[in-house]
């Protein structure tokens, strides 16, 4: 049992730090923080990562991955979040990409993977439906085969960034006989196809990133089917375990916790620093202690994956605890802002307003309510653990 870093690991850490310091510059950060320029700035940032060769640490080397070991991946993630650098948009790089290189045919790999790596295509995820949330397999969007095409009819919902997307990967029903998991197929659909309509959904934080995507007799070439027809559930499930591991966001929570501590230190509460208030310290340390444990739980999962295991039901544990901690720290950070948590986005400078983080903290808290719902609600994750780990 040993968690110390070897000299070559420390050298790697310095290399990562130096790259981030240079490449994630102030001009880029300003564009990322502006909704008008957000999309192009994300693509710009991801292209810089691509040039560096670091765009897909999770991919096998033959498809464009980095070939890093588990420790290097851990160091990269730790440095990324410590520097406050946003993760890549996951839908292409972390979700559909791995499905394509694992289950797609050669032609699909050649056609899609390079464009995903180079951020030429923006992908979105078509899983949830208005009638199928955590019970994903009950989905009803139909794809009926006609010659060399599928005709797709139905609707997907909670689709993040569909308004920017070039492509959507969808779970569709191709067969209604037998078990509901067995008639699902995995289709790649061009968002420019006639019959697709994107309807915006404004979320509880006042922002617009979510959508409903309608499919009205959309024609999709059979060449866009991944693997075999009716076997899509298997491919989707492989992806879900990875998704849950990624959702835990331990390093991000640590960063938010550190900010919360800083903000509390400068906040005056009855003549003293809020950070010195024992009740506040209790809440802060409750979270910090749980995160210290969760960080090692994540390492234990990573280590078991590195030695050949797959993230299985433990990824459900990470998802549950990780999202609970995200919400706890978002709530605490917001409460440090007191009245200013209520401020809506406005034109005032922080100097004019008298405050600099309340509005953003509230928005994170509000949107953060989604984390215990998406990726399979936490209650569903508990069902998964009860069945797969406890054998109940």
């Amino acid at each position: 049992m040993d968690t110390s870093f070897a000299p070559e690991d420390l050298a790697f850490r310095d290399e990562v730090r130096a790259f981030f310091a240079e490449a994630y510059d102030a001009e880029l950060q300003a564009r990322l923080n502006n909704l008008e320029t957000f999309r192009d700035a994300v693509i710009d940032w991801q292209k810089r990562l691509y040039k560096q060769g670091w765009i897909a640490p999770g991919w096998p080397k033959e498809y464009g991955g980095t070939g890093w070991n588990a420790t290097q991946k851990f160091i990269y993630e730790t440095e990324r979040t410590a520097a406050g650098i946003r993760d890549v948009i996951p839908f292409g790089l972390n979700m559909v990409g791995p499905v394509i290189y694992q289950f797609g045919n050669e032609e699909q790999k050649e056609r899609f993977l390079p464009r995903i790596l180079q951020s030429e295509d923006w992908w979105c995820q078509g899983y949830s439906e208005p009638g199928a949330g955590s019970d994903l397999a009950s989905l009803k969007t139909r794809a009926v085969r006609e010659g060399d095409e599928y005709i797709v009819t139905g609707a997907k919902i909670w689709t993040s960034y569909a308004q920017y997307a070039d492509w959507i990967f969808c779970l569709v029903r191709t067969n209604s006989d037998g078990k509901k998991q067995e008639g699902i197929s995995f289709l790649l659909i061009d968002m420019k196809s006639p019959g697709i309509k994107v309807n915006p959904i404004v979320s509880i934080d006042g922002h617009y990133s979510l959508n409903e995507v309608e499919f009205n007799d959309v024609r999709v070439p059979v060449a866009n089917l991944i693997g075999e027809q009716d076997k899509g559930w298997t491919y989707a499930k492989a992806l879900l375990a990875h998704e849950r591991t990624a959702i835990a966001g331990v390093a991000d929570s640590k960063r938010t916790l550190a900010q919360t501590r800083e903000f509390a230190a400068r906040e005056v509460n009855g003549g003293k620093s809020l950070l010195s208030d024992p009740l506040f310290q209790k809440r802060l340390s409750d979270i910090e202690i749980e995160l210290m444990a969760l960080e090692f739980t994540e390492l234990r999962v990573l280590a078991s994956v590195a030695s050949g295991g797959a993230p299985g039901a433990e990824s459900s544990l990470l998802k549950i605890k990780g999202t609970e901690m995200q919400q706890a720290v978002q709530e605490l950070k917001m409460e440090v802002a007191a009245y200013y948590q209520g401020v809506l986005p406005n034109e005032l400078t922080p100097e004019q307003l008298g405050h600099d983080f309340g509005s953003q903290a509230r928005q994170s808290y509000m949107y953060g309510r989604a984390s215990t719902i998406y990726g399979g609600s936490n209650e569903v994750q508990k069902n998964v653990i009860a069945k797969a780990v406890l054998g109940l």
């Binding site: 968690t3 910090e288 202690i289 969760l294 605890k321 209650e379």
Partner: protein, 379 residues
């Protein structure tokens, strides 16, 4: 980065587990608890023969030269069996103080005897008023020529009734709660002026209050530096807290496993109660509490083993986690066992009571959370 145990550690774990399985069935354990000394001297000899009393000691004294990870392995298995023999008191506390702070002579004389099972020890640190503050000491040791004269009282001394040798924390200068001015003294338990009153704790231990009246202690029997005993005992207690957390983890694992098994077999309303989602989700909660505790234990033990600079915070965090997870886990274990859960006949309550005693030893969760906050958040 790896979380694997070495082959040697795997063998150590297997052999302790085999001992628990063969010699520490629950009814045997109850008989040992009810015996005069609340432990078995035969078992103690077996522990010595199997080499487990030597685990943390240096090889030069005949020890195994083990790391904190080795101690963790032993203690986790002991937890599963609710072992009563005074491993914590004799090997980890008394022995730990000698190993880290004893003179060459003290080490050469006593450590081999501990290892062969011929010396039982105790660390007498607690006083009526001290609660969780190691430095809150009224007992005095005043220098007189080449000796000290020890006066005062220590309470709830683990293994205090059976110990052959004691290490006693006493004030040699300063005010009642000062960290400076504490001296640790090695005292034979049968020295003139010592009076012991023994009694039992809820977890089966026999402990003692020990009165010291003008007990003469030669200056050669100071353990560590005069006046500077606090750092030494703090260091030993820090390592002991990790060992206790390992014992607690062993107990939590047993409680979860036994509860899970019970809910799969116990039928109500025509079905196994484990089929109810209300119960399933609670068992998932206790499973997660167990895993989180294990993670923090590993974090703390790696930090201690690797000589990291965050040991203190890790141990405070671990004690908080053990307290919270322990209460949750034994609470659910009792509740899910229904009426049987509150009987003395079932082992569940005995696991619970040992967890409660572990929680209060060297500071409960609230105490350590305050210490953690002090360390992390005071400017």
């Amino acid at each position: 980065m790896n979380f694997e145990f070495t082959e040697e550690q795997g063998m150590l774990r297997d052999s302790v587990a085999r001992f628990i399985q063969d010699s520490y069935a629950f009814d045997t354990r109850c008989k040992i608890a009810a015996s005069d000394e609340a432990m078995s001297r035969d078992n103690w000899q077996t522990l010595a023969e199997l080499g487990w009393l030597s685990v943390p000691f240096a090889e030069e004294h005949g020890g195994f030269g083990g790391s904190p990870v080795d101690t963790m392995v032993v203690m986790e298995e002991f937890g599963k069996g609710l072992v009563l023999e005074p491993y914590l008191a004799t090997v980890l506390l008394f022995g730990g103080l000698l190993q880290r702070g004893g003179t060459v002579e003290q080490q050469a004389e006593l450590i081999p005897r501990i290892i062969e099972g011929g010396c039982l020890g105790a660390f007498a640190y607690l006083e009526r008023q001290s609660r969780y503050e190691l430095a809150d000491i009224k007992t005095t040791a005043s220098a007189q020529g080449d000796s000290f004269v020890l006066n005062g009282e220590k309470v709830v001394v683990f293994n205090g009734a059976s110990a052959d040798q004691l290490i006693v924390s006493a004030r040699t200068r300063g005010e009642q709660s000062d960290r400076d001015g504490i001296t640790l003294l090695l005292v034979p338990a049968d020295a003139a002026g010592i009076e012991r009153s023994s009694y039992r704790l809820m977890d089966g231990q026999l402990v003692a209050n020990i009165l010291f009246q003008d007990v003469q202690v030669p200056a050669a029997d100071v353990v560590g530096e005069q006046h500077a005993g606090f750092d030494l005992m703090h260091e030993v207690v820090t390592a002991a807290n990790i060992a206790l957390a390992a014992e607690a983890l062993g107990i939590m694992g047993q409680l979860n496993a036994k509860t899970l098994e019970y809910t799969k077999t116990r039928k109500q309303f025509g079905v196994a109660i484990g089929s109810f989602q209300a119960l399933q989700h609670r068992m998932v909660d206790t499973f997660m509490a167990y895993e989180q505790t294990k993670s923090l234990l590993y974090r703390a033990v790696c930090e201690l083993d690797g000589g990291g600079d965050d040991v203190a915070a890790c141990v405070h965090a671990l004690k908080v986690m053990v307290d919270r997870s322990g209460r949750k886990i034994f609470g659910e274990a009792i509740q899910l066992h229904g009426g049987m859960g509150i009987t003395d006949e079932l082992d569940i309550g005995h696991y619970a009571k040992r967890l409660m005693m572990i929680n209060t030893t060297f500071g409960n969760g609230d105490y350590h959370q305050a210490q953690f906050s002090q360390l992390r958040y005071s400017a």
